[in-house]
Subunit: 295 residues, 2 copies
């Protein structure tokens, strides 16, 4: 087994109406290197570094995934992450995909492993295949397709300091929805897919949603005002990023700097501690290279 | 007011998961000519000709639309239609769009009028703009976007002789659906949009639906077997066409003749009187020319 280094992208799922169906890879990354060792160790820096417990390495997601893929837990695992954890930016899918690939998995296996970790495939699909993806489970198997994405877009992501656990965010969803609301989302998502392919075709209404955002706003009451503020600041459309609490403004590259600055102020005015990131789509997905650092 | 002749395409809406969101224009047409006259008359030939009542011309959809657009009912209206009525092929939207355009409406007005007739915009959007469209109502206004469509496709449409009134087909729908079923359709529709853009990406599961097809099968119990038969005969995917009872097989052009022949046999074996059509997408949408026939 060679030491390998794998890099996977963060992702923003749902994109408003595309609940459990769409995701976008963005240019924040987690890198994982795996090499043979006497015994399991996990060393982490950057975002999520506090999750690596030297006394209990086997509890770490990267360790579980890499051990499963490699068929051994005699591994030295290093993680360097730029992806905030528990904020709706697909950190667990990206980490799982990178850990699997660094341990020797092919991309489609890394995709399957990361899907299993999340229980749904959109974030994993974006992290592994890059760009804008459609992804869903068919008979329990993840299926992914790339969708066209206009490279004129930049993305402003408001990332609150507080986490919103995915489990709570899922529990906030209603068991049933009006048939009319289900078709509402279908119509909006079809317009959104057309608009993401061509920024001249995108309208703000394309990210409207009736399946999850309103229900989840109970967990993050400032969200509707922040989403509206992103539009007022110049974003073409805005929505929750995944299960939140991060919020996404879809911008033309030229105006994104202003939207980001406005986003900082919006959060500050709303009393929401956090940061506003200016991101681009990641078109490449999972990258694997022989590890440069062996010590 | 010049005599004008307008032609609009038939359409197949929903396409499985894209309930009230997607439609496809196909190459069966209705032509409507309108010219000034002493008094209202409607003459019709072809499909739906029996709906033109010489003693009561003002009750005809084309007369109502053309009179509204022209601001007068002193019109001689002629209709020639290839679009079966009440079978889920968008005959009312196409007729309304063509009548509006022949009476002087611009395409976007014809789209709005035809949307009003149907109460939803997908069929009207396909008839007016051609190709594959996303369409929905936003604050009561119809919005349409073109989506990419692989021209390798041909479409086999099983058209039963019996009508399935849209009102009954709508009443068969449940008021509420499981949240999981709503997201099921989103995932399938996203895959379908990717597959319609590129036939190498289409899988049969992309036309699966949980919002309308099963509920409507109560009105057409042979439908599931016919849909499955289309797949067995070589269609890449199959679904209801609009509110039915027509059924659509999405085929590669090379195999479509065989699928059409198999479709005839499937209907015959199932005891469903009707015909199997082999259609292509219409890429042009509404066409308007000065009327060639003035008598």
């Amino acid at each position: 087994m060679l030491p390998r280094l794998a890099r996977a992208a963060a992702s923003s799922a749902n994109l408003g109406p595309g609940f459990d169906a769409l995701a976008l890879a963005v240019d924040r990354y987690v890198e994982v290197s795996v090499e043979p060792a006497e015994r399991l160790s996990v060393r982490a820096e950057g975002e999520g570094a506090d999750l690596a417990d030297a006394a209990d390495p086997e509890s770490h997601l990267a360790a579980r995934v890499a051990s499963q893929v490699a068929g051994t837990d005699r591994l030295a695992i290093r993680i360097r992450s730029e992806i905030p954890v528990g904020r709706g930016l697909g950190s667990s899918a990206a980490l799982a995909a990178a850990a699997a690939a660094a341990a020797g998995a092919e991309p489609h296996q890394a995709f399957a492993v990361a899907t299993q970790v999340d229980g749904h495939p959109e974030n994993a699909a974006a992290s592994v295949y890059g760009g804008l993806v459609a992804a869903t489970l068919i008979d329990g198997q993840p299926v992914v397709r790339r969708l066209p994405l206009d490279d004129a877009y930049a993305y402003v992501v408001l990332v609150p300091d507080h986490q919103l656990p995915t489990v709570e965010a899922r529990q906030a969803l209603p068991a049933q929805v009006d048939h009319h609301d289900a078709s509402f989302n279908l119509g909006r998502m079809a317009l959104l897919i057309a608009g993401l392919a061509d920024h001249t075709q995108l309208i703000a209404a394309a990210t409207e949603d009736r399946l999850h955002q309103e229900a989840r706003s109970k967990l993050f009451p400032e969200a509707p005002k922040l989403l509206d503020g992103l539009l007022q600041a110049g974003a073409l459309a805005s929505c929750w990023s995944g299960a939140g609490p991060s919020l996404l403004g879809i911008c033309i590259g030229d105006t994104a700097h202003e939207v980001r600055e406005a986003g900082e102020k919006l959060m500050s005015d709303a009393g929401v501690a956090g940061q506003a990131l200016l991101l681009r789509a990641d078109p490449r997905g999972l990258q694997v290279v022989p590890s440069p650092s062996k010590e």
